[in-house]
Point group: D2
Chain length 432, copies 4
């Protein structure tokens, strides 16, 4: 480090220290009575100071949040005793106020600053990055999650259709955040926004230009068994008269600071509702989804018996499995080089794997499966050679899966899944 | 009651009873895990049932909310003890979850229904009407207030200018809700929306067509001492070059269901900021406000010594006061029939009354004064014969008052007021 | 006139004279080559000068327009000869340019000023008021009409639905311009904008806040026979399920400067198309129209034989007519005081009168009938006691008429009408 | 050609012939009285038929337009004689109606179809492509130009700012139509829409999604002498405080069907006005323009004496010119390989070339120079090595030029230019 940059560095540290103290004081002032009439200005100043701090000082600020704004244990205990002895509105109200972290009120008041919501969401995003190494921030994170969950309640979200007439500024965010099937360029994007494709996103009024989550839909004549055709830039848009099936083929979150806030479930159902109103000819709503953990599970198949599988299933598959496991020392051959029997075995195992998805999220369960099954969808069809990309070859040997959203069955399906019974089509269930 | 209507009445009661049970079950279901994937539909059904109930059944529903959705005292006590013994994120998180009323989560989930926010706000409005005779609803109301205060945080409100180009549907709500100087008809309204008058309102994105609160402003060449000219339908709009003073002459809440949620303070300051940016020539921001409690206070003036007045003030006024009180048996004469000395005395007493406004809201304090002084405004000028309406004659002998909003002094003024010292212009302070 | 106002008057005359000369020069400059690069500024200055002139000077300006901007007769004649001798694109182009009034190019260039279109439309409005006494302005008016007809071509008009959510600024123009059934106040207006009533207007993009023409529609369960119920402020909006008939009950022009530009015909048909798309259950599109000239015609009934009536019709009615005409010395009694026979006679005469509407607009024809029959509508039903207002009693003895718009028959109906044969329902035709 | 495609071809010809006849009949019907009430439908059908015709049949339709819809020479001559003998509004009106091509009324009625304006503009675009080989279409084209010039009058155009928040559908049209400095991809485009660059376009309300013309502007600290830096995708947006000069560096028409309609002149001036209002610190408005004809002129330099140059200029340059011309047999070397003297000579010749631009558009004049000088701009600075692209090397040896728009001098500059005197900076004039 040069002398000059050392000096600059030292000066920045001094400034940061000063600004950190100021920020702490503004936060304390916000929570006092006398900060009230001026709270918008104080919150504005506080968030500006925070944004200009260096990373280390921002982490210090998270420490301050974790240490200084907890409820007072003695007071809470006293009031909990009173409420236990004499349950009435007065004792309850006193308890409620004392038991809520002052942090939550602090966040609510910081949110009074213009643009405050966006800063708070990004603040949490930064904190989440450091959470693993700073486990004492968990209480701060819990308060964030609790508040954001209330503020980003579906009742406050606005679903918008996104198409080729949307602002470029918004469209480039789709390119940036697409997490399932990367958008290569603007031509790729344009194809995904043509009339036989749809894209919908949730927005929050306080973040008007930032999509929170978006889903891409293909309108098709039948349930698709491969993603290649869906993404083909050069394909011609289909005639609306042929639309029978709406397939959700990609869903991506755009705001890491909203982790844990349920959005996808609501978006899929609201989109299904909107589409079935616009296009009554749509009879089927399904997904074409990746199975990102299948490959890993398959590579550790030895452990299969130790899981909670039904004995008859293991018995049924055991001969094939033995041969399969014996060969596991070598890597699995590529699909093209595989024999028919092996192909059949893998397909069966894929159905098996998904059918045993656990709602409580055991390590072997596929996260995408848990999401859709937890939403109340049904496991419908396993598709080999459905995604020919390298990523999919590695993650899932090219397999993809359709989940079916039958809006009338969602609640029953979900309830069954909570009891660890996965609802599936007859085609899948027959294997087992 | 006729036989037929008796039958209908009986049938309605049966239906209501059935729907009440359904509503209760839907609320319970919403809070369970299995209600999750379908929660938007459940919430929609629940709110529809609620809206169609008769009044008595809606009150029963409030009873249910008050009785069934409190935190569990035993659990809270146990977790409060753990937190007191071992303060860490885990014990805190457990305590926080247990100490928050399940009612709050219930309201958040009901809010997932389309249009849910409006129903909840109107639900609280109804509950507030019966609160005095149903004090056990206070815990429900506290949860409403806590949640709505978070949801109607200034960071989520949108200030909009309202003018003659606004939708008629919106403008008729100004006519309906104007609480200070009634809007007689559409011509009266049109005058208040001409270029030398302004109107601003807060909206919440979930209630897009319902203003929450609005303020009316007159742009003038000097601080006004009477309201008649401001409201004169036939007055000609002033030249923008003459604007020097922005006077807030009316502020009205539109949503009784948001009682206790601070809105006016934020609106006034945001309007002052917006106007000073649009019209840099504006140097003064003030109000022309009623003094609704002055008349009542004056009629009970005997009690003045028993208040916490400074002795020298009482001494100073005592001679006049004695004569004044002696005559209190008779009603005060009308202003026109009053002698000069009496006029001067009343003006002095009016300043005196306002100058002794208490931030803690003693019974003798004027509510409008408490609002503006609490916002950090300064008591600027007392104006006799400022409002010639019958209502004002009765409430305040025709007096009005200007409060001055000096944005740089707001925090200091507020702090002084919290210490029960009212900041005032020299003109007012010299009396005492 | 006082001395001071005399001086002011004299000064204004001098200024007007100066500005008139400036205006004339700017107009000449606009038409030269050198005015081109600056034409927007020149046009802006010219229109500003025009608007600030006194009325007399504005009339002088119309004189200038009439005298100085005609085509050159000699040149036109020469080029017409060349074109007659040698018809080709060159001779045609030369002729076209010479034969068009330079006034038209002048108006096109004046229109380059921001807001120019509105000024030109209002300029023509003013000129039309003086046209009767200044017949030499007719060539100016013809150029105005020719240009405005091109600019206000239906392809450039935008139909907008107007409802209670429209800006008050726009709604007050409905109140101002309603020419058939006056809108009494805002409550009356609100009723006409409820969901079982519709209002549509044409706008031109260059006059965004000024409706050009608007039509009011009632959605009903059957063709109405009286207007009172339609206009009843206190009536409750009907259930959309009951809508079967759309009735145009009022159509009003808002821009006198657009006299002679066809708008109503296009508006009615575009509204009918839009409504039948929105509400496929609508099977009938009709009017409920006044018959403003019926009363006058009836009072001059002696002249009936001298018209081109079919002999058998006259024969059929002659006995009644003789008795009727004999009594014409006295005024007709009010409807309530009339005998049954007289009532029947008048109803017959009303149908007779309308059935003999002439497309060439003879003096005895009803203008509203000519408008709708010329649009291709059919005469459907005559309704006695349909409008109980004083105005209607005087104009049409309270009669109103339904014209039926059967979109498939419009062209045939119109063609027949051009041959002076009025298409009518069997109910009407049977009289004759 | 296969048998099958022969059959299809033959069938298409038959259908086209049938549709051509129908189209001709609809056009005739549109011009008769009986087509009036149904004209929107007739126009809609006619334009649909036209659009579906094959190219040969569309050309046949242009022939029909050219042959059948001219004014009647005999009638025009008769009425021109009457007007010449007796000039009054009646004779003028009769003449005007007879002398205008019925084609114009036909176009106005076709324009009544929804979307008609766009079809007509594209119809003219197609006709212009064949005009050179079909000179008899010139009368049709003249009517198109006359009408479109009236309809696309600046008073009806709407200037819109285009930026990164504009719809992608619109932005891709910029990429398609940029005619000066091609937009390579969306990253290139994004750079051109950052805050130190501006883009404005004219739109017509009847073609809401199609820009008519757009101009790109760079906001800079000084007048630029090369285009490379302006177009550098990776350059960082400049600080608004540094803006002093607004440079128009590209202007492109998007609608070939509007050839001959003046748009660029109005757009540049309206943009200059808007920018000087938004950013009062902008003191200079100039261009950085190509000189597309300079290279060709230079290669034919022998002819220079035969032009209307001043003798002293020729004398001054003659020695250099002789040597230059002597070498013309060989191609000019590339700039890098050129000696200093040659470079100076070419720069002088470039200024000389531009300074002798003729307003009447002699073959040797540069079209871009004629456009800007005709708009009233001044020739400000010649910049060598200003455009390093191959195209510019070929067209202009890499030279570009700044034209200065001094809004106060525009009219005088234009007037001088009309007299063939080019206004230029002292730096340029000193050469000569």
């Amino acid at each position: 480090m040069s002398v000059l940059s050392s000096i600059k560095h030292a000066r920045d540290k001094v400034l940061d220290a000063r600004d950190s103290r100021r920020l702490a004081n503004l936060c304390r002032q916000l929570l006092t009575e006398r900060g009230q009439p001026n709270s918008v200005n104080i919150a504005t100043s506080a968030l500006k100071l925070y944004e200009n701090l260096g990373l280390a000082s921002q982490h210090q600020f998270f420490n301050l949040l974790a240490e200084e704004f907890d409820p007072d244990p003695g007071v809470v205990l006293l009031l909990a005793e009173r409420y236990a002895v004499n349950r009435n509105p007065d004792t309850l109200l006193a308890l409620s106020q004392a038991a809520e972290s002052p942090r939550q009120e602090l966040f609510r008041r910081l949110n009074r600053a213009p643009g405050g919501t966006a800063v708070l969401v990004h603040m949490r995003e930064l904190m989440l990055k450091g959470l693993a190494t700073n486990p004492h921030w968990r209480s701060v994170d819990a308060d964030f999650e609790h508040l954001l969950s209330s503020w980003f309640n579906p009742g406050f979200l606005q679903m918008q259709k996104i198409d080729w007439g949307s602002p470029a500024r918004l469209l480039e965010q789709l390119i940036a955040h697409e997490a399932v099937h990367a958008i290569v360029d603007w031509n790729d994007l344009r194809r995904r926004l043509q009339p036989d494709r749809r894209c919908f996103a949730f927005f929050h009024p306080a973040l008007p230009l930032e999509p929170l989550i978006f889903v891409e839909v293909a309108l098709l004549s039948e349930m698709p068994n491969a993603v290649g055709a869906l993404l083909d830039e050069k394909s011609v848009a289909a005639d609306p008269k042929s639309f029978k099936v709406a397939t959700f083929y990609s869903i991506s979150n755009c705001q890491p600071g909203l982790r844990g806030i349920s959005l996808g479930n609501f978006l899929i159902k609201q989109v299904a509702k909107a589409l079935s109103e616009e296009l009554p000819q749509l009879k089927t709503f399904c997904t074409l989804s990746p199975i990102p953990s299948f490959g890993r599970w398959l590579s550790k198949l030895d452990a299969i018996e130790s899981t909670r599988l039904k004995p008859k299933v293991v018995a049924q598959l055991s001969a094939q499995l033995e041969s399969f496991k014996a060969r596991k020392q070598e890597a699995l051959p590529a699909w093209d080089a595989m024999g028919i029997k092996d192909r059949a075995l893998i397909e069966t195992l894929c159905g098996f794997y998904l059918l045993h998805t656990s709602s409580t999220g055991g390590h072997s369960s596929d996260p995408v499966a848990r999401f859709h099954l937890g939403n109340g969808a049904r496991l419908e069809r396993v598709n080999p050679q459905a995604d020919l990309s390298k990523k999919a070859a590695k993650e899932s040997h090219g397999f993809m899966v359709n989940y079916l959203y039958d809006l009338d069955q969602i609640e029953a399906n979900h309830e069954a899944f909570m009891g660890d019974s996965v609802q599936a089509s007859r085609a899948i269930k027959q294997y087992f």
